[in-house]
């Protein structure tokens, strides 16, 4: 459950071609009698071949909406999503083909599995929906073989032993492995995992994260992990994008973002991670504002410790913080923050 071989060779989107790329992506929710809520408000994000990107932020920052939009579950109101350079279509047929190559793994494995479906049926469901039964890549493979293969890739060996088990007969870790096997059965190129371990016990957490790393190493899978857990990002991510109120506010390699954070928001998040005892905890007051009322200027300014303690004033940017929204960060490239203190 240890040491991946890629430890010294993280693939990053900057040196490989992006597999999935969002450009100025915007997802707006409208409701009668209310101002539109800009859940995702102009995001550039690229995920390279075989790359693990962590998208971190608090509840309500838009990270789940962004993830859903990337798999075509939430139509963009502006901007676009490109997969292997091709713009993601909106027709059912296009999306269907796309969803075979990009799979979503959700937070709660118990909720993601039908309690009346056996493990076998849960894993085979995607294969049946997409009509993948035989003759793939020249060799004939039956459904049973594909299901067994996916389960063993997810670390459930021997797979035949749990074919007929139901979710309630499995442990939390096994359930999450079954959910991952369901995604793997379709041989996707990218998996988007939304809080893959947050509902799991401490002891199982490491096992599932090790599995995700192994899938990247063995199959060259790309991964986008959506999480609020910075320890998880440190454990497995090559690059990290920090999201606040619909925008990516800082992006860079895991080492850059977590060890040399630039944005005051990232710094505050890091300071409250319980084990970071060397940092003075900077507990931000309140919560993320409502996305239908995004503050003027820098969207973080009402909660920004650097503005409150005069750092921005001394740097001569306090006026910009209140009046000008920092530029949207590029999808890839060197470590950068959307902050007037770090132009």
């Amino acid at each position: 459950m240890n040491a991946s071989t890629t430890a010294t060779n993280p693939n990053t989107a900057s040196d490989t071609r992006a597999l999935l790329e969002a450009s100025r992506l915007q997802v707006t929710f409208t409701a009668r009698g209310r101002p539109p809520a800009r859940g995702v408000d102009g995001v550039n994000l690229a995920i390279g071949q075989g790359e693990i990107v962590a998208l971190v932020g608090e509840s309500g920052c838009g990270k789940t909406t962004l993830a859903r939009s990337l798999v075509g579950l939430e139509p963009p109101s502006d901007g676009e999503v490109r997969f292997e350079g091709e713009t993601l279509g909106t027709s059912t047929k296009d999306l269907r083909r796309y969803r075979r190559r990009v799979q979503l793994v959700l937070q709660d494995p118990t909720g993601a599995l039908n309690p009346r479906h056996s493990v076998y049926d849960s894993v085979a469901e995607g294969l049946r929906i997409h009509g993948v039964v035989s003759s793939r890549g020249g060799e004939d493979r039956s459904e049973t073989q594909l299901v067994a293969h996916a389960l063993s890739q997810a670390g459930l060996r021997p797979p035949e032993r749990i074919f007929l088990n139901y979710p309630h007969e499995l442990s939390g870790g096994q359930r999450q492995r079954v959910v991952i096997a369901g995604a793997l059965a379709l041989q996707p190129e990218l998996i988007i995992a939304d809080e893959p371990v947050s509902s799991l016990d401490a002891s199982i957490r490491g096992e599932i994260l090790a599995l995700l790393l192994k899938l990247r190493d063995d199959l060259g899978l790309s991964l986008l992990v959506v999480t609020h857990d910075l320890g998880l990002a440190w454990n497995i991510a090559d690059r990290i994008a920090v999201m606040y109120l619909g925008r990516v506010v800082e992006m860079g390699t895991a080492e850059e973002v977590l060890q040399r954070p630039k944005h005051p928001y990232t710094k505050a998040l890091l300071s409250v991670v319980p084990e970071m005892d060397e940092l003075e905890p900077q507990v931000l007051r309140g919560e993320i504002p409502d996305p239908s009322r995004i503050p003027r200027g820098c969207r973080f300014h009402p909660r920004c410790p650097a503005l409150a303690d005069g750092e921005a004033e001394r740097a001569g940017v306090a006026g910009d913080c209140l009046a000008t929204s920092p530029d949207v960060l590029p999808a890839a490239g060197p470590h950068a923050a959307a902050c007037h203190l770090h132009p």
Binding site: G172, A202, V273
Partner: protein, 326 residues
């Protein structure tokens, strides 16, 4: 300092038609006034059973032996009237899923006021309302929150309301079962800081249950780690997290890596295997089948919880205590 909560040799066994399930197997635990004690362990280790038994909320199928003294009185032998007085006023509980513990069609102010008026019928509606306002202020919410319904509130606000409810009857002991598990780091930090302030200002005792040792390490004075119904390690909370001695505590602490620790980069640490089936516990040390440091003697000898480091720490592991030659 007299103990607020003193649990002595507590065992809880769930009786089912087929067999007996020992969930808690002989636990001693003390919480003093103005002290916060953390309780850690995986699902199924007995920590929630232990917590619910303190207020006698365990299911009827559970057989309980030992003693649970809250301010000197044994909860297990209290009559119904005394038990009612103890719940809320003597000790109260904050549960994990705040949304499910609230009435969705009642304003939160009324929900907070309910235990106040139920416990003391002489309290007027007006006094109850001002007490609600005071409680909301104590947990950092605006008084207007009293008129909201649970679905109007965010997860962090709901958890604050839960804490306000738990404080309603001025209890001396608060038991919080995974109060921050579903919350974000920033909101978690806010809720934990609030609990720590309450312990300091009101001198209440806090029993904080979590599977995240790093949370306990930064919030609590002392911490206790349970495995398969027993305490396997206890000591000063931060020291326990930073320098665990029992191999199980070591694995639990490593599950939440320190950001910046290069050994954890691309190397998430897990603990293989599942916790043992309480119906069929392994011989000797119950942890030995999963233990990276197990030796032959571990399967034959049931380790006792013994003091080490001049009583600063207690560990149930023969590799640490040298209780028997290994």
């Amino acid at each position: 300092m007299s103990a607020l909560l003193e649990i002595q040799d507590l065992s809880v066994t769930y009786r089912t038609r087929e067999d007996d399930l020992p969930a808690v197997r002989g636990v001693d635990l003390t919480v003093n006034a103005g002290e916060s004690v953390g309780l850690a362990g995986e699902s199924g280790c007995g920590k929630s059973t232990l917590a619910s038994t303190i207020l006698r909320l365990q299911p009827p199928s559970a057989e309980v032996t030992g003693a649970i003294l809250v301010e000197g009185e044994d909860v297990l032998t209290l009559g119904w009237g005394e038990l009612r007085a103890l719940r809320w006023a003597g000790a109260s509980m904050v549960f994990q899923g705040a949304l499910h513990s609230m009435n969705p069609v009642q304003r939160v102010g009324d929900q907070i006021a309910e235990p106040i008026t139920l416990h003391d019928s002489s309290v007027s509606a007006r006094d109850a309302a001002s007490r609600v306002e005071e409680l909301l202020d104590q947990v950092g919410l605006r008084s207007a929150t009293a008129r909201s319904y649970p679905h109007h509130l965010s997860g962090g606000q709901r958890q604050r309301v839960m804490i306000a409810m738990a404080l309603a009857c001025r209890p001396r002991l608060i038991i919080a079962d995974e109060p921050t598990t579903a919350l974000d780091v920033m909101v978690q930090a806010q809720v934990l800081a609030l609990l720590a302030d309450l312990v300091n200002e009101l001198q209440v005792g806090l029993l904080l249950i979590s599977h995240d040792l790093s949370v306990l390490g930064t919030t609590c004075d002392r911490a206790v780690v349970m495995y398969a119904g027993r305490v396997i390690e206890q000591g000063a909370a931060f020291d326990l997290f930073a320098r665990p001695r029992h191999p199980y505590t070591t694995a639990l602490a490593a599950a939440f890596p320190r950001v910046g620790n290069h050994a954890a980069r691309y190397a998430p640490a897990g603990l293989p295997g599942d916790p043992p089936d309480p119906r069929d516990l392994p011989s000797g040390c119950t942890f030995h089948p999963r233990c990276a440091r197990a030796v032959d003697a571990c399967s034959g000898h049931d380790p006792r919880l013994l003091s080490i480091d001049d009583g600063e720490r207690a560990v149930a592991c023969i590799r640490v205590t040298q209780e028997v030659p290994v």
